[in-house]
């Protein structure tokens, strides 16, 4: 989670999922950091600094922020291609994430992965994956390994509503349930898979009910409310950690921007987007903390300046970093296998 200053209000906060004022402010700070980072990424894409596909997390910040704050820092996270928010919420260095989007050597995968494939194993952040639902079996395997080792570490798998009709979704849920694997699935139901509305392709639109059909504990939560996400994740993660088998959380949310930067958004109306924008998770929490006296307008302005700096410095760092050397092309295809071109590597 991003750094944040003291607010002076350290008392337990009503309706704040049992969190202190500082903890609540920290959640707000993380959401603001993600938002600003994503806005900066969009700007850098428009300036031709970022290429390929770029899927922004704007609108869904509460899901990653609330959920990941409720996990242990060593719990595995496996996410899909809309994963900048999950990485930042886990504390992956924004500079190195931005450098990755730029395809630079200082990026989290040295420029190899780009936006859709962030990895930071030191933060138990085991990747962004670009094949819909293809990462779900991996989460099962991570959970299986921890169960096998007898540890109480869990695997958390973020997925989209579009993943639920793939065979791998069903195979993963069934395996996790029948083997009681310590996996928490968090489905971000933002009502669209690219331009296709959920009800046009899903016979059962309540995603959590599908998970129930596999005999696992499943719930829905308000994904526009960071505290609701925190509370539900904390509760479900506790069950999973206690060995009660997998659990499934459907987060109802909305992406404010297009599917990717190339999306003309023919499939939804501006009115619909505007209605969801009134539920902006950042504005809501801000209002609430101001009303409750946890925050002052002054402090909010400071926080905005802090996250502006984080995003700006990330972009500067990315800009100044060198591209990966061409000689690195054939490195790491195999573990420690020297390639003909580069000879043996120590």
């Amino acid at each position: 989670m991003g750094q944040h200053g003291k607010t002076g209000t350290l008392t337990r906060h009503d309706g704040g999922a049992g969190m202190t004022g500082d903890e609540l402010v920290a959640l707000l700070h993380t959401m603001m950091e993600i938002r600003r980072f994503e806005e900066k990424a969009a700007e850098m894409y428009a300036r031709g600094k970022i290429h390929g596909f770029l899927h922004l997390y704007i609108g869904q910040e509460a899901v990653a922020t609330g959920a990941i704050a409720a996990l242990r820092p060593d719990d595995y996270i496996v996410s899909h291609y809309r994963e900048h928010g999950h990485a930042l919420a886990r504390g992956v260095d924004p500079k190195r994430v931005m450098a990755e989007l730029f395809g630079k050597e200082t990026g989290v995968t040295g420029g190899r992965g780009g936006s859709m494939h962030l990895f930071d194993v030191s933060k138990s952040f085991l990747g962004g994956y670009a094949i819909v639902a293809g990462h779900m079996p991996l989460a099962c395997g991570l959970g299986l390994a921890e169960q096998y080792k007898g540890s109480d570490r869990i695997a958390v798998n973020f997925l989209g509503d579009g993943a639920v009709n793939e065979g791998e979704f069903h195979e993963a849920l069934n395996l996790a349930a029948v083997w009681k694997l310590p996996v928490l699935f968090i489905c971000e139901n933002n009502f669209y898979g690219m331009g296709t509305a959920v009800q046009r392709v899903s016979a059962l639109v309540e995603v959590y009910k599908r998970a129930e059909a596999y005999g696992m504990h499943a719930e829905q939560a308000d994904g526009m409310d960071v505290l609701a996400m925190y509370e539900a994740t904390a509760r479900l993660a506790k069950r999973v950690r206690a060995g009660e088998g997998p659990a499934f959380l459907e987060a109802i949310c909305y992406r404010f921007r297009g599917h990717s930067m190339a999306d003309p958004e023919f499939y939804r109306t501006k009115g619909e987007v505007d209605r969801w924008r009134t539920l902006d998770p950042i504005a809501s929490l801000k209002r609430r903390l101001l009303a409750d006296g946890v925050l002052t307008e002054e402090r909010v302005a400071d926080m905005q300046a802090e996250v502006d700096d984080i995003a700006r410095e990330a972009a500067e760092f990315a800009e100044q970093s060198p591209p990966p050397p061409t000689e690195s092309l054939t490195r790491d295809v195999y573990v420690d296998a020297p390639s003909a071109e580069e000879g043996s590597r120590a």
């Binding site: 780009g114 993943a163 793939e166 690219m194 499939y267």
Partner: protein, 328 residues
């Protein structure tokens, strides 16, 4: 002849089929309301309705499987798999069902199904979105594999694909959708298994398909400046393959280079090399070479990706090496 894009050429072929054959329908992820991820089917849902143009769940296996079933029952479906990368989730249906039902049923069943997908790299989409797996499909008896390089190819080959009685894997190149070329307004058919001599030449043959044809052509221009007259062959289909066309060209030029985005090891280029040495060994003045993609998962960073793909400079260098031998 009007100049249109590769995308528009595909659209014309599809629209013709939708208008003229009631058995034809299209289905795929985001081909309707969204307009297709490469805008190939844009507006078709409005024009032809949801009975003919269906948005599907993200579920490649069942979509292809249902396409096979519908073809077995007498329809002529076109399934769009968005990209070749996602075809991997449907490969069981394609290989275990589509390719062999006609044979397994002793000819009782036909699967006239077109499966369209975009392949190729070069757009910085990373390792899971940059595959060139056409060689995998070409390996499978019972499938036809089509790889158009130009708008003219796209329209003529897609029309032939729709009218074929077999499953056809139709692989478009992501980098070519906006490319332009002359295309007749009326409908026409290009035969499968017939390569095009894009540029006649006497000194060596550059063999390409889809995106690599254009690199071959540009390399041929550079070679011309150095007094090397390269013939450029556009394969158009990998299966059936125009073996006679390839051999005829090599008999004339005595040298050949295959250019492909695909990984070199076990790639389709190796098949062409093998055929040439089997059928025209005595006509060769030099070993047949390949200019292929590097054997690595595709990296995102722009310069690394370019380093992993065949480049004109690489083709020219190989060609000079082959032809130097002659001068010596």
């Amino acid at each position: 002849m009007p100049e249109i894009t590769y995308r528009e050429a595909l659209r014309q072929a599809m629209r013709y089929q939708l208008r003229n054959d009631e058995r034809v329908f299209l289905m795929g992820e985001d081909i309707g309301a969204y307009g297709g991820s490469y805008a190939v089917t844009k507006g078709f849902m409005d024009e032809f309705g949801e009975r003919r143009v269906k948005d599907t769940p993200i579920a490649e296996s069942v979509v292809v499987g249902a396409g096979i079933g519908a073809a077995m029952a007498g329809l002529r479906p076109m399934v769009e798999l968005m990209t070749i990368n996602f075809s991997l989730l449907a490969i069981d249906q394609i290989v275990n069902n589509a390719s062999k039902l006609h044979y397994m049923s002793n000819g009782q069943i036909r699967v006239p199904l077109v499966i369209r997908m975009a392949g190729g790299a070069g757009s910085q989409l990373g390792a899971q979105h940059s595959h060139s797996l056409e060689g995998w499909y070409a390996h499978v008896p019972g499938l036809k594999v089509v790889v158009p390089a130009t708008p003219y190819d796209a329209k003529g080959l897609l029309t032939t694909a729709f009218e074929d009685e077999n499953p056809v894997i139709f692989i478009e190149h992501t980098a070519l959708y906006a490319s332009k070329g002359e295309v007749p307004e009326e409908i026409y058919r290009l035969p499968f298994g017939r390569a095009e001599v894009m540029r006649p030449g006497a000194d060596l043959t550059l063999i390409g398909y889809s995106g690599s044809v254009h690199q071959a052509r540009r390399a041929a221009q550079q070679l011309a400046a150095q007094d090397i007259d390269a013939e450029v062959l556009n394969l158009r289909t990998l299966r059936p393959l125009d073996v006679d066309g390839i051999i005829a060209s090599v008999r004339k030029t005595h040298r050949a280079i295959v250019i492909e985005d695909d990984w070199k090891f076990g790639g389709f280029g190796g098949e062409i090399v093998a055929l040439i040495q089997e059928l025209a060994f005595d006509d060769l003045d030099a070993p047949v070479l390949r200019c292929s993609g590097a054997d690595v998962p595709m990296p995102y960073a722009g310069a690394l990706e370019q380093a992993a793909l065949p480049q004109e400079a690489g083709i020219v260098a190989l060609a000079l090496r082959l032809c130097e031998g002659e001068a010596a």
